[in-house]
Symmetry: C2
Subunit: 461 residues, 2 copies
């Protein structure tokens, strides 16, 4: 019976001699679990596993730890009595915000707002950030289309039945290789791996090719710019085609660097032209900075590297930002309450930590640190790929947001495993890439620690 | 420029004489904001606003505060040094769980698992819980259909393009008046208010009528059972119709009590028959306990009131449970890793609080308390509707999960406002209902405090 049996089960399990891994196997598919961690003992760039092994972490919980483990500034938050009620009482932010919430927003999110973005909506994770960003674009598009008049009775009635005109056949254009989340709206714009999408119904939305560039970018400028031109042409074709199909593109979404899909880069020129295409066709332009945002490229937002004249319309974030959410231009604010809404609308306890994270980034000049470490890392990767051309290629990156390709996926997986056995945690992405996602406190000497070990592993291989 | 301007903006705003409300207006659509709160000063059943007014809270952050504000057991969590790292280092649970995570799951979620549910997947909110529950049902359905063989190459390729057969045309059957969340998959099963759905593309999924019963249920048994039979017949018709359309129903989702849609009840007999229809047609049966779960009906899960022979396949939760997630039967576990996955997969810091919440529910016998208070509340509502039949009707409820209808929406809104001015917070739902969603620590004397004030307001009206 579903009564409250707290405590009984665990002791039964332990009596039967099961260990913690067995318990989890019983409860969930654990095929993705790498190992169990001791977060209490972890510090800075070092993650400690359940057996006490201390490892230099270049993957940082899928790029979601901003300033390392157990940063004293974050621990201090919990020692201040006036912060505690924020952890204990999670409010419904959309209806009953804490009195310090607007000030907290100003001090944190607004203080790092991308240029041209005056508004910010908090959410709780990357998926709800992107889902609501998409909804904002649809709402914006339809309001524009109906001249900001009230919706018709037909629209109001039909939407309750999931039907048009109230639920319109609008679409979001995304890129092959992109990752924007796994809830069903996001998943319709995600095209990283088939296992992410298989068996889940989706929307007939247009998918453009993302440039397949040759690295280092500086050496293949002409070829790469031709490839980018080809993709941009395809984007315009798809916009026209989908309009003709009656599934008009309301918005274009892109990552500044395709992350899960294999660390695929494109040039600032590509993104500027993409932004212009969006404007030309009346589509919103949404930059998904869930993985790239909060400093790992050496600028706070990766899209700052582009130097856009006309800012993006929407920039979404999560991961290192600890809270999810999205910035947007004025005209993307919902015209009525409860259109962009849910119970929690974020979590103010994450904003408290974000205050400290931003302070540390500023006072410890971590963006400069990232640029410095990133330069050393990329330089080291260039040297290794020159030394082991049969194993490595296509080193690439901005800041510490770097990647390198292995010969094939089996080699990639073996290299990651061997490096882990020598105390360094790396992550994979795409088909055969190794990605580097250290925290912002990753320093030059950590780079050299890693490069030495990686060199040893490659030499042995 | 998007540099780190922390601290500058707030002082500028303050110098210009803006107050906190102005700041938020500048940042967001604040049309839904009721007032600002002082959560530090709030205690138990009492919420304190920014001006220091202390109000008896019968709405509790849209039913998401389980044991009242600033419960000492929850504050104590933060005074224990070994808990702190869980707050400071949010892990990627799906790949690097903390060593105590399986044990924590056993002590919390597994200890309250609904009958027949051996597995539990944590998530972060109601929407990702339901989105992933839907995905589990789609994956289960397709695996069953392909005889648990490997997917074809055509399926693998087509899903990357959002096309069939890899992204199949399956559907989820939901009920008119239901609310299952606002991300795009959830939203396709949500039919509460048009403002929730307008302008957002959706899926052509079947929507059955939910029984419109007459209250009190005991007095209209025959009429109500006819109405339920009508709806069940429609459910079967829709399943057949959508199969013929090529959009086979993979799962049926229902709330035990439709909450946002107006506190619409149905009998245990209705749900038993619905469960049988699901089995008969090979559809999964998903009970969404996001709002009803964790005790407010006097049982831990509202669907325990039904006495199902064959348990549900999936039960999702969030809100009072503090963490999101869903329980499911063995056969709904994904066959491969990374199919049900995201960066965080929940938040272990919420599980720590849940441990304490479950302890308090048990040691303070709060489910009994809820039954007792609920009985007094419903009795009081019956008496008031008898006394003010021109204003109130259809009092209904289980435990403290009660509601009553006002004459019309304007009356409802006025009554809620007047009651608030006398120090009591209520919520609305549906077209003209007032809903009661106190915490589990709501006692009989709070019921009488409320009833007296409500009586005064009704008498004045
Ligand atoms: S969808 Fe973002 S927290 Fe649930």
């Amino acid at each position: 019976s579903p009564s409250l049996r707290t405590g009984v089960l665990v002791s039964t399990w332990k009596m039967k001699g099961f260990d913690i891994a067995d318990m989890l196997v019983f409860l969930q598919n654990v095929g993705a679990v790498h190992f169990f961690c001791n977060y209490e003992e972890s510090r800075g760039n070092y993650l400690v596993d359940a057996d006490g092994n201390r490892m230099l972490d270049l993957y940082t919980q899928i790029s979601s730890i901003p300033i390392g483990y157990n940063h004293p500034a974050l621990l201090k938050v919990l020692s201040k009595p006036h912060n505690l009620s924020t952890f204990v009482n999670r409010p419904a932010l959309g209806i009953l915000p804490p009195e310090n919430f607007p000030e907290r927003l100003m001090e944190t999110l607004v203080s790092v707002a991308p240029r041209g973005m005056s508004r910010v909506q908090t959410m709780a994770c990357g998926s709800c950030s992107n889902e609501n960003a998409f909804k904002s674009m649809f709402i914006w598009y339809k309001n524009k289309e109906r001249g900001h008049n009230q919706p018709s009775q037909e629209e109001i009635n039909s939407c309750m039945l999931n039907q048009g005109p109230g639920c319109p056949d609008l679409s979001i254009l995304s890129f092959m290789g992109s990752f924007h989340g796994r809830t069903m709206g996001c998943l319709a714009t995600t095209h990283s791996k088939s296992i992410h999408k298989l068996d889940v119904p989706s929307f007939d939305w247009p998918i453009a090719p993302f440039p397949k560039l040759r690295y280092p970018l500086e050496e293949f400028v002409r070829e790469n710019s031709q490839e980018e031109a080809r993709c941009l042409e395809e984007v315009e074709d798809l916009i026209v085609k989908w309009r003709q199909k009656g599934k008009t593109v309301a918005g274009i979404v892109t990552e500044p660097i395709q992350s899960e899909g294999g660390d695929n880069h494109a040039s600032p020129d590509f993104f500027k032209k993409l932004r212009n295409i969006a404007r030309k066709h009346g589509c919103a332009f949404h930059v998904d900075e869930v993985q790239t945002g909060c400093g790992p490229t050496g600028k706070f937002w990766a899209h700052e590297h582009w130097g856009l004249d006309d800012p993006a319309d929407i920039v979404s974030f999560s991961k290192k930002m600890l809270t999810g959410g999205y910035f947007h231009k004025d005209e993307f604010m919902a015209d009525k309450p409860y259109r962009i809404f849910n119970t929690w609308m974020g979590d103010p306890s994450k904003n408290i930590f974000l205050t400290e994270v931003l302070n540390v980034i500023k006072t410890e000049r971590l963006l400069e640190e990232v640029s410095r470490s990133g330069k050393a890392l990329l330089q080291g990767l260039y040297e290794l790929q020159a030394q082991y051309p049969h194993l490595l290629s296509a080193a690439r990156g901005v800041g510490t947001f770097c990647a390198i390709n292995a010969r094939d996926d089996a080699t990639r997986d073996r290299l990651i495993l061997k490096v882990r056995n020598k105390g360094i945690i790396l992550g994979g992405c795409g088909e055969k890439s190794i990605r580097f996602r250290p925290a912002l406190v990753f320093k030059e000497y950590h780079v050299h620690l890693f490069l030495n070990i990686f060199n040893d592993v490659l030499a042995e291989h």
